[in-house]
């Protein structure tokens, strides 16, 4: 982490910091540096603004000539199956494809499964509708508080409300309990 201005981290380090790709210890050091270095703060702001502009920019369409070239390459590499081009039974190729065992067998199995599922006595969706999932109030309060704490004049209530209300709702995920 050497660099400009006698000890400032290199731009690559700030780029990784903005992308959250730094190791925990490194992030802490970078953040501490950021507190005291206006030059690096401007650099980080510039990187963030660049990311923001990039995200907002429309995705450019693929040029027609490039698309045609790629399609040609794909066609050469993956030629259409012979059955699709020949018609010995006198039926169109797509009809023969639908009637082939490769399509019919999975379709029949799917139909059987669908029939079994529809024939059940209590569809699960109805059970869900009858008993809505309860969302703890602290879930929304905690999300609200965590954002409020990022404001310059964050009121004391958020800072000192019950700690459970400061924790992310995700912390209540049963799967995350160890």
């Amino acid at each position: 982490m050497s660099g400009r201005n006698g000890g400032c981290p290199l731009p690559e380090a700030w780029s990784a910091y903005v992308d959250r790709e730094t190791a925990p210890g490194e992030s802490l050091a970078l953040r501490a540096h950021l507190e005291s270095c206006p030059v690096c703060r401007l650099e980080v702001r510039a990187i963030q603004a660049g990311r923001k502009a990039l995200r907002a920019a429309p995705v450019p369409a693929m040029p027609d000539d490039l698309r045609r070239t790629l399609e040609g390459m794909a066609a050469r590499r993956y030629p259409a199956p012979p059955a699709a081009s020949a018609a010995p039974w006198g039926l169109p190729a797509w009809v023969r494809f639908l009637l082939s065992p490769a399509v019919l067998a999975p379709a029949a199995a799917s139909a059987l499964l669908a029939a079994l599922w529809l024939g059940r006595r209590e569809p699960p969706r109805l059970e869900l509708a009858a008993e809505p999932v309860e969302l703890p109030m602290e879930l929304v309060v905690s999300a609200h508080n965590r954002y409020a704490l990022t404001l310059p004049l964050a009121p004391a209530d958020e800072l000192f409300s019950e700690p459970s209300a400061q924790l992310a709702g995700g912390s209540m995920e049963a799967g995350d309990v160890h």
Partner: protein, 346 residues
């Protein structure tokens, strides 16, 4: 916490420009702004002390005592004690990882605080928004925890209402007392040091935390994010919602997803620079469980449909369902929340 410090240079750059614009008009206001700037700076000195915090949920007043240690730039240890002086909660942060330990339930939560450096709104935009919506005035001096302080009041430009009063330590710029006021002008909360060592001798302080043997540990799966509304709604697989009307001064800042048992709540955040209005779009077939002690939620209607309103120390919470389940949370009057709710459109 880090943002407050990192914003200061920008704030200082912006201050003269703001003085020339419509925001701070008087010399007193400029002085108040400068003092506020100092108070928002991350203290460069460690301190320790005891605090008393009073919050009011509707008509219910609750108070708690805390012991606090702070070491710059963002490490702290807070211990909340019960009326008998026994630790109830310990919250420790080294600036990156935060632990909260519930002594009674012997459960520890590990989380990462939201990193304001990733907010969609630039710091200078945020400060400009704050100064556009609020004015700052000096309100004399007072002594807090045996230290001389200057009082800065934050007043809404829209309503002329006092929203916060801060007692700022004259020597170190640390906020030693902060009072907030509700939309009705009544005191909503008070946070005050009753004793503080400033600066403190930080020899031997430790901001790491190791859960005691046998304690349950709950890990937070993800850090809060700051997403454009379109990205968040796409990720949640729901239609993008927009209020057709927002309270004066409020703008959209960012959105995020709140995971819960395989579901995702969509969280839209609006701010006027000081306060936050949260809008939650919940999955179908869900309902909010009002679990806090206190008065039962009030029943009312939104767009002709049943709704519930709860009074919390964080503000008012309005829950209603019109083709989905929605929650609004903010320090605004019930009629204002209802107006926002009724203006929602896809």
């Amino acid at each position: 916490m880090s943002t407050k410090g990192s914003l200061l240079a920008l704030f200082a750059l912006w201050l003269p420009a703001a003085g020339a614009s419509a925001a701070p008009e008087t010399r007193s206001e400029k002085r108040a702004l400068e003092l506020l700037k100092d108070s928002l700076e991350v203290p460069i000195t460690p301190y320790e002390g005891e605090m008393r915090v009073v919050t009011r949920d509707g008509g219910t007043e609750r108070s708690k005592e805390l012991s606090v240690r702070f070491f710059p730039p963002a490490s702290f240890r807070r211990v909340v004690v019960d009326p008998l002086g026994v630790p109830a909660w310990t919250i420790v942060s080294d600036g990156r990882t935060q632990w909260a330990f519930d002594h009674r339930r012997r459960t520890a939560w590990r989380s990462e605080p939201a990193d304001p450096d990733f907010k969609l709104m630039d710091p200078e935009e945020e400060y400009r928004l704050m100064a556009d919506n609020y004015s700052f005035r000096l309100a004399g001096t007072r002594e807090v925890a045996d230290r001389e302080c200057t009082v800065v009041e934050v007043v809404s430009r829209d309503t002329g209402r006092l929203v916060q009063a801060l007692a700022v330590d004259d020597e170190y710029g640390v906020v030693l007392e902060r009072r907030t006021f509700g939309p009705d002008g009544q005191a909503a909360s008070e946070q005050r040091f009753v004793r503080i060592d400033l600066p403190a001798d930080a020899e031997g302080w430790d901001f790491s935390f190791k859960p005691p043997p046998g304690a349950k540990v709950v890990l937070e799966p993800r850090q809060a994010d700051f997403l454009p509304a379109e990205d968040a709604s796409e990720e949640a697989g729901t239609a993008l919602l927009e209020p057709g009307w927002l309270p004066p001064g409020y703008v959209f800042e960012s959105a995020d997803l709140v995971p819960y048992r395989g579901l995702n709540l969509l969280h839209y955040r609006y701010t006027d620079g000081v306060d936050v209005l949260s809008l939650f779009q919940c999955p179908p077939d869900t309902r909010l469980a009002f679990g806090r002690p206190g008065p039962a939620p009030r029943r009312l209607t939104v767009a002709g449909k049943p709704a519930r309103l709860a009074l919390l120390s964080e503000g008012k919470l309005l829950e209603w369902g019109v083709g989905g389940r929605f929650v609004l949370l903010g320090r605004l009057g019930p009629e204002v929340l209802r107006k926002v709710a009724e203006s929602l459109r896809e």
